[in-house]
């Protein structure tokens, strides 16, 4: 293989995993945007999504489409349910309490999943399949193409949703000042639930794509994924949709190249070092808008 095609292959590798990070980061970012909560349970919602795919397809033997819908709808419902049970009562509490609750929810989901599904991982059935594409000497896997395309489309839809619809406006208002938003005629509860539903549905899509690329589901799979998505969201500028996208791709590609040059041992170190560097140069992330406090 030529150097160039290796580089291109590595780049595609990075884009593929980056797409998944980006989708998850988006959900992270949206939830953060609206209630300023680092939703540590977000990664675990993905885990639930993956199990939902596994259950519908491997246990119930239903076709992939059903599995995909089950994951997306299931995750959205779970997200809203968690928000209602665990986060709503804490809306007026210090933010850190909310953070700890989110950590509690994350532990809870992991351990319950382990109790129900067992500790080992489940092998995912094939969800999508198709022919690989050859571009010159570069081998493009079907799954990679699907992953990248789905991520890009989700992103576009979401951008339109947030910028052009009333719900999107409501989300922005609620994220700034819940009281004032109510006075504008916005239903805060509905808006927050909606945000969780969308964010978690994205996690559901993420779960499906992840399962296509890495066909295993385990109770602890959400932890590392969640963390990386979190990093991606912050890198891109938390609260920003294109930011989450850029952050996700950046981390995916970065990881791919760090591993490619034989530094995979230091991958996490390098990713965090880059993150730190970016934050020091631009403290609100790549796309984050800096809001100076007026004195």
């Amino acid at each position: 293989m030529s150097v160039l095609s290796t580089v291109v292959s590595q780049f595609i590798n990075g884009l593929q995993s980056g797409s998944v990070y980006a989708l998850i980061a988006l959900g992270y970012s949206m939830v953060y945007g609206i209630i300023m909560l680092l939703n540590f349970a977000h990664g675990d919602i993905i885990m639930v999504g993956a199990y939902l795919v596994w259950i519908t397809m491997s246990i119930l033997g239903l076709p992939p489409a059903v599995g995909i819908i089950a994951a997306i709808v299931g995750c959205a419902l779970l997200g809203v349910f968690i928000e209602k049970i665990a986060y709503t009562p804490l809306r007026k509490s210090p933010r850190l309490s909310l953070l700890i609750t989110a950590i509690g929810v994350s532990f809870f989901l992991q351990n319950v999943a382990q109790l129900i599904m067992g500790a080992g991982s489940k092998t995912m059935p094939t969800i999508v399949s198709g022919p690989n594409v050859r571009l010159g000497s570069v081998n493009l896997s079907f799954v990679a193409i699907v992953t990248i395309v789905v991520a890009l489309v989700s992103m576009a839809v979401l951008t339109i949703l947030v910028q052009k619809t009333k719900m999107g406006k409501a989300m922005r208002a609620v994220s700034e000042d819940m009281g004032a938003a109510q006075l504008m005629g916005i239903s805060v509860n509905k808006t927050i639930s909606f945000t969780f539903a969308i964010g978690s549905a994205l996690a559901g899509i993420g779960a499906v794509l992840y399962s296509c690329a890495y066909p295993q589901a385990s109770p602890t799979m959400g932890g590392m994924l969640g963390l990386k998505a979190f990093v991606a969201a912050v890198l891109g500028g938390i609260g920003s949709i294109p930011g989450a996208m850029i952050g996700g791709f950046a981390i995916g590609v970065l990881e791919a190249f760090v591993s490619a040059v034989g530094l995979s041992v230091w991958k996490e170190g390098v990713v965090f070092a880059i993150l730190i560097l970016v934050l020091l140069i631009k403290p609100t992330g790549i796309m984050g808008r800096e809001i100076k406090e007026k004195v």
């Binding site: 293989m1 292959s9 990075g14 382990q114 067992g118 500790a119 080992g120 990881e255 791919a256 995979s264």
Partner: protein
């Protein structure tokens, strides 16, 4: 139930049954419990039931030490099966050695579990029924050279995992002896699911064999992705490969070899064990960890019998010494092998080489 103290022999069972490595812990627990329950059902030892004190350590050294101390102080155990992970097991031995507590682990593969290199001390109380890490690495390098005529090799392993690192180090060292050139040395971190970058590099070097001494879930993923990025080499692995066929396709795995202490359905004893296990645990098929858990219990129970035969009182120092002594000179027969221990308390048994054929893990040869 400690009402009648003499009516039971208390044995600790320690390992990670929650957390990232819970699947190994649960398997070891299941295997060990299967045998102990069997012994109890048959009337126990000397009319005494074996009472298992089971604690979870989450794979965490601190928790393991605390749980072990609790077993000793509050529960009054006489011997310990555990822990499951090497790190936790080493920490526990540090506590168990000074008090002469017999310990047998089903899965602590790190050499340091029974032998402290720096102080040159053998922990005389600690035994294991699994291979040590270097043994498997050496075996596979020899196998690659002698049976596969490999000239070049690549390795891919989890860097933060002492098991994987131990196997890989031994493999690389032995390769040098055997005249195999290691052309690529790629690592990854715990929790990684994407190995394409490393595998793309390996593919570019076109090695004869790839040694992937990790746990089966990762190995399955690695082999799958390797084929996607164009690695055609024969894959080799350690005993962590057991059940790998559930995690990668038959085509991708075809012709891979790994070294193990356990080959599913390969002997009558194993078949019987599989049947018992399936009956006890909802039809589940046992993994190597389950088999080793079972074997650890077998070796320990035999040693307990020896101590009982000496009419010693469970829990006393003499009793423990007798158990240790009996284990040292054991000739127990477990499901995977007949056991005896070398000077470092490591089991002397041949490795089983398993080959993946048509999606089945079949016994290839003893090596």
């Amino acid at each position: 139930g400690g009402k009648d103290k003499d009516s039971s022999i208390k044995v600790g069972l320690l390992g990670c049954i929650t957390g990232d490595y819970a699947q190994y812990g649960v398997a070891v627990f299941n295997g060990a419990k299967l045998y102990i329950n069997k012994v109890n059902a048959e009337g126990g030892i000397n009319g005494k039931k074996i009472e298992l004190i089971e604690y979870d350590d989450k794979g965490d050294s601190t928790e393991a030490v605390n749980a072990f101390t609790r077993m000793v102080d509050n529960d009054g155990i006489t011997a310990l099966i555990g822990s499951v992970l090497s790190g936790a097991s080493i920490a526990v031995v540090g506590e168990a050695y000074p008090i002469g507590m017999p310990v047998i682990s089903a899965s602590a593969t790190a050499a340091a579990f029974t032998y402290n290199e720096e102080t040159d001390t053998v922990y005389s109380n600690a035994f294991r029924v699994c291979f040590i890490d270097p043994f498997q690495g050496e075996k596979m390098a020899q196998f690659a050279a002698e049976k596969l005529d490999a000239k070049t090799a690549a390795v891919i392993y989890e860097t933060g995992n002492d098991y994987a690192v131990g196997l890989k180090d031994a493999f690389v060292k032995e390769c040098a002896e055997q005249g195999i050139t290691v052309v690529a040395d790629e690592g990854y971190s715990k929790g990684d699911k994407d190995f394409r970058s490393q595998l793309t590099n390996i593919a570019a070097k076109e090695p004869d064999v790839v040694f992937s001494p990790n746990y089966y879930e990762d190995d399955g993923m690695i082999v799958t992705q390797a084929r996607q990025v164009g690695v055609t080499a024969t894959f080799l692995g350690g005993d962590g490969w057991a059940r790998v066929t559930e995690y990668a396709s038959a085509a991708d795995l075809e012709g891979s070899y790994y070294c193990s202490s356990y080959a599913a359905s390969s002997t009558d004893a194993i078949k019987e064990f599989e049947a018992e296990y399936a009956e006890a645990y909802n039809g589940e098929a046992p993994s190597m960890f389950a088999a080793l858990g079972y074997d650890a219990a077998v070796v320990l129970v035999d040693a307990l019998k020896a101590a009982e035969a000496k009419k010693l009182k469970a829990g006393t120092d003499d009793y423990k010494a007798a158990v240790i002594d009996a284990m040292k000179n054991t000739s127990s027969v477990g499901v995977t092998s007949k056991y005896s221990f070398d000077e470092f308390n490591n089991p002397i048994k041949d490795a089983v080489i398993i080959k993946v054929e048509n999606g089945n893990e079949v016994f290839a040869q003893m090596f």
